[in-house]
Amino acid sequence: MSLLETRGLTVRFEGLVALADVDVAVGEGETVGVIGPNGSGKTTLFNALTGLYRPAGGDIVFRGTSVAGVEPHLIARLGMARTFQSSRLCLQLSVFDNVLAGMIAARRTGVLEAVVWRDRARAEMREALARATHLLGLFNPDLPARGWERVGRLPQIDRRRVEICRALAAAPALLLLDEPSAGMSPEETRELMKDLQIVRDERPGLSIVIIEHDMFVIEGVSARVIALNYGRKIAEGSFAAVVAHPLVREAYLGQERTHA
């Protein structure tokens, strides 16, 4: 059985249909790419999966339970983590704070341990900091040393890495990456490709769904590609098959004009 499955997933905003009847399945350890022109519903799909949008119809089954209409934080605790297209880090907080935020849901000590019986809380914090250090070091050996700096002082590529670390810190089963290469130069995009390979090597069983506009990234990382247009799934299959699909070509390039 697949890790994540949507059946007839539909999202509506007032009258506008943002997602219509989308069926997506993601297996364990699989990487799936999602492509489509602007406004085709890619981010809407992510927002529906993570619970930020309530589906108007259809069902989302994650790890065997239906999560359609469930609060985002409960879905996250089931093992779904994501990054955002425009970074949603807390720029005022330190790098470590941002990564540790991903571990809050799995905390074992509460308010009482934090105030009174501090040994357990401190031990847990030390362990959490060690894990954060390890995660940051995977992507950039200089990052752990900058752990106490505010995230706002890091360059764009490192911020994206911190965001990926925050998602990985939750030890998710499914990672949703919303256009990680957005706003990056070609060199940075190549760096990002390496980072995604690092994620793969570090968590072999992790399933990844990645939204990308950069076809080079999609081709490099995903075994299977789903194409959306106007909120509908128009094609699915290998990268080569999907980009060759007439509906996909039409969505990106427009209809071919027939010369009489």
Binding site: L93, A101, A105
Partner: protein, 373 residues
Amino acid sequence: MIVVLVTEALVFVLVVAGILAERPRALMLTAVAGAAALAVPAAVPRVRATLARAFDEHRVVALVGGAVGALALPFALRGSPYWTFVATLALLYVTIGQGLNLQIGTAGLINLAGAAFAGIGGYTVGLLTVSAAWPPWLAVMVAPLVAVAVGTVLFVPILKTRGHYLALVTIAFVFIFNVLMNNFEFTGGPQGIKNIPTLTLFGHRFTTAPRLLGVALPAHANFYCACLLVATVTTIITRRLHDSWLGLALNTLRDDEIAARCCGISITRAKITAFCVGNFFIGLGGALYAVMVGFVSPPDFDFGYSLVMLSVIIIGGVDSIPGVVLGACLLVPLPERFRFLHEYRLLLYGLVIVLMLLYRPAGLWPAGVRRYR
């Protein structure tokens, strides 16, 4: 270590001199000395770095030194019951400020009903001791819980509104509280509640002037010590909460609610925890105020005091635990010091806040990075 102790001794001398200097010339001299003491570390990075390192290395010494200084203050002020009272008031504002800072600074819940929650604490003590004849200690311990319980009526706006809208709701709450206190029969209406019995400890009434180490101290020194203890414990608790998962969760949801939800943080639970813990300490401050002053009335808890509490946080440093202590210790006594300016001192007060917001919006002691210590 010597650096730490010398610095603390210098601060102590300046504080005492600043409070006790009566003649204009002496006051001017202390003001200049104080300004110089602030300007040197601010202007010379090396001095600042040395001080920071010294205090970081000898944290225990610094804390013990600070405690000795705080305990020595009533002895230095023994000639002036009035200034002992003001110092005690500053400590109450530390307690209240820490509670409010957890809400406003850490969680981003703009609660401008601080005066109302302090008032609920104060009125609870008044009602329980005067009308129900409870022992004052018990009333002071129960009052914060009542403040938390009454706070539950604000749970819906806390969860459904944010930013300015929440601020408006809480402002309305203060005014409703005041109108109710003015009109309820059982709270004494505009007269308030008089003759609230004072605290006693092992038969020692807090209104009798103590003799400590052969020195006669003003009666308010009793309350000074009690409030010092409460303010210290409150500061330790809020600091530990701030450096825990709770503080991190609150900071994360303050900066980005969507990201926090996708991290698995329950916004509802975190916000309500922060709100209740904050109201507890605000109510505790109000309760201690009631037993110290011996009477409560509506004007003691009007909206203006909410603004003073907010200024303590803004001047000290939003989300900064030491900042709140500094803010309270500056903002409560300073306007008293400038009483000779009569009505102009309020103008000065407003000017200081405007200048702060313009040139030092992070406060005098900005929030540092969470160190998880």
